[in-house]
Symmetry: C2
Subunit: 201 residues, 2 copies
DNA sequence: ACGGCTCTGGACCGTATGGTCCAGCCGTCT
DNA sequence: AGACGGCTGGACCATACGGTCCAGAGCCGT
């Protein structure tokens, strides 16, 4: 079904997904197919032409779109966490990104809307978290291999704890509007690694 | 309006809130007034008799009910975090509590449903986080005052980072079904404090 | 130029759901 | 005992929303 798409068709489909993402960021849970339709300048039939399985299929596409952006927005910093300075630059980008996002949580909204029942939504989030943590672990490994951390350092627990701190910091920011917890989690985490650092001669 | 409640009325109201909480834990977002009505063995008119402002008011009452349970479930451990052993006991209770809760997030659901727009929902969550963090800070202060941490220890950042780690760990558990991140955040956090500990003679 | 495909518009439908209303029950107070 | 007022049942309503359908426009290969 996707194979039959014309260039025009592909453009329309993309427009729908992007518009839907915007609407969802603004209206959250209460976003309706009609909102998306009017925002994207399409008609009801187009929505169901490109997403025959209905709303959930569209929301899933939006979720994938948003998930892709999460990691993209952290690049190129997330990809080269090999010095403490790089870690701090990345920290700043993460804080800035989520501060800019304000009190909306696109993926959270989508996840709650589509529901745990749908395996697709879960898969997207799980995959995002896995990749994210892998990047963090690669960063910890990089500083370790640079001789900044002892060879025996527990990379995976560190990456997992860092990821948890970020997620929690973002959650709390959504509730309170303050980025303090996200900052505390990142700073505390990075500082903790540095405390375990190999003293530089 | 609340003042005019008979003992019977108060009982019915409580039954409605508790039933609603159960239904929301099971059905999540898709919980409907009719589900709550049938689960609580009441009628539509009773729902609106006790919550004249409608569904949002009821959901808010449920949110308060759930928020109260969050901290209660961590007692008495959360209240006396004055030794490292106490911290570990508390850690186990937190992990057990959220593991038992499984992949449902009552407060998260409620928050997403009622929406950020409603000031009431936000206030409940903010208050919960504030109290929770205060307990953690009190615990850090307690071990510090017991001479286990240096007097200059940054209590507030530690408490904030710990809270963020918990929140994130729970979020990730909701998505993946695995408690690993919650455990990693707690263990890493407590270990970090112990690394800063005053050596015992 | 023509046949067939995709793409688009928009009227229409079924229904789930929050909310209203009113009649009658029951407890409680004097 | 009687009356007042909270308590309860359940029929009823309005409507928002996801989804269907069909007719026609527009593009594309042959």
């Amino acid at each position: 079904m996707t194979a039959a798409l014309t260039a025009k068709g592909r453009a329309t489909r993309a427009r729908i997904v992007e518009s839907a993402a915007l609407v969802l960021r603004e209206s959250g849970v209460s976003a309706t197919l009609d909102d998306i339709r009017s925002r994207s300048g399409t008609s009801k039939s187009q929505l169901f032409h490109y997403f025959p399985e209905g709303k959930d299929q569209l929301l899933l596409a939006v979720a994938q779109y948003e998930a892709d952006r999460v990691l993209d927005d952290q690049q190129p910093y997330l990809g080269c966490l090999d010095t403490w300075e790089a870690w701090y630059r990345w920290r700043d980008v993460v804080v800035a990104r989520y501060e800019a996002q304000g009190d909306t949580c696109p993926l959270g909204t989508l996840f709650h809307q589509v529901g745990r029942s749908t395996p697709g939504a879960r898969a997207i989030v799980v995959e995002l978290l896995r990749t994210w943590q892998e990047h963090l672990a690669a960063g910890v490994r990089a500083v370790r291999d640079n001789g900044l951390l002892p060879a025996s350092y527990d990379v995976d627990t560190a990456a997992a704890a860092l990821l948890a701190g970020i997620q929690g910091g973002v959650s709390i920011m959504l509730a309170t509007g303050r980025p303090g917890h996200l900052e505390a989690a990142l700073d505390w985490g990075i500082a903790r690694m540095r405390e375990g650092a190999v003293p530089v001669g």
